[in-house]
Symmetry: C2
Subunit: 170 residues, 2 copies
Amino acid sequence: MKLEEAKRNFVEAWGTLGTNWGINRTMAQIHALLLVSEEPLSTDEIMEILDISRGNTNMNMRALIDWGLAERKIKLGERMEFFIGEKDIWKVAVKIISERRKREIDPLRTTLRDLKLIDDKTEKKEEYQKFIKLLDDIDKLAESTDKVADKMVSADKNWFFNSMMKLIVK
Amino acid sequence: MKLEEAKRNFVEAWGTLGTNWGINRTMAQIHALLLVSEEPLSTDEIMEILDISRGNTNMNMRALIDWGLAERKIKLGERMEFFIGEKDIWKVAVKIISERRKREIDPLRTTLRDLKLIDDKTEKKEEYQKFIKLLDDIDKLAESTDKVADKMVSADKNWFFNSMMKLIVK
DNA sequence: CTGAACTTTCAAAATATTTTGAAAGATTTA
DNA sequence: TAAATCTTTCAAAATATTTTGAAAGTTCAG
């Protein structure tokens, strides 16, 4: 396998994987392409390489920028915009985790809190308590996840790998 | 809000959330319904409550069993099958994590390994090394995730919450 | 200004996923 | 063994998501 071929395969594989992570195929492929590109790429280059339309490229490029996984790069003297991907894979992971937290954990916890506002506390006491326990248990897990995500954002790669090492070895 | 209403809302909320976790809406709703049901439920009851077809119920019920999130329960003297959900939310989380690991991390790591089999090591030396570094970095993250998932499966709830606490507080 | 170069939007088309429901398959009872 | 009861399958229909591409919008050099 040649380097170029391996890169192409990587773009495809990343596209497939993205689907499992709330990132659509094209968005993941553009991201992968930027990851393996030495130079910033223009919209036209991305369209050409991935064989997708201008609209599709534009929408997914904006989504990537919105997620903090890519940014615009203006080249002096060039009218066109170029894009570069976040190359540090640790930062990529942190960005994806933060974004998902924002979109999933926060709304989940809000919903759980609302559900606890049950007013027939006196009826079906046992059933009521079991339900509240379920909500609390889910919230506890969500809280842990949330806090770890929070810590990841402020801490760094080494902190993470050291912590994981301790966690696993013990 | 009454208890029954809160439970209905929970089923809906869980359904929405599931979508983000590779679990389709119906599958997540059936799961939520089983979570809040004191008694085992039959296919007909699930169909009735969630207002879905028999085929849909059957397929998603099997998926839940496959994921280890529900099991069949035979009632003596009853012809019909009943289903119960895994009530321990910690175990639910562990099951989902294990399942996703099996479906995502393992294949990812295999792909990464294959991609490293590039034979033009001599050409474009720097570009080659950067690409290999990217693959290695992704693999390192995947490995950590994998090991933690592994540990979660064999360890228990308390271990998890204690570890998380230490991670966060420090 | 004006027009060329580029970016953004969005309705319609293409594609992918989920759901239905009727038919076929099992299993148990009489 | 036949009928009744329940489970499973799967092609077709319904829904949901993604992609296209042409038109509208924006920016900027001349």
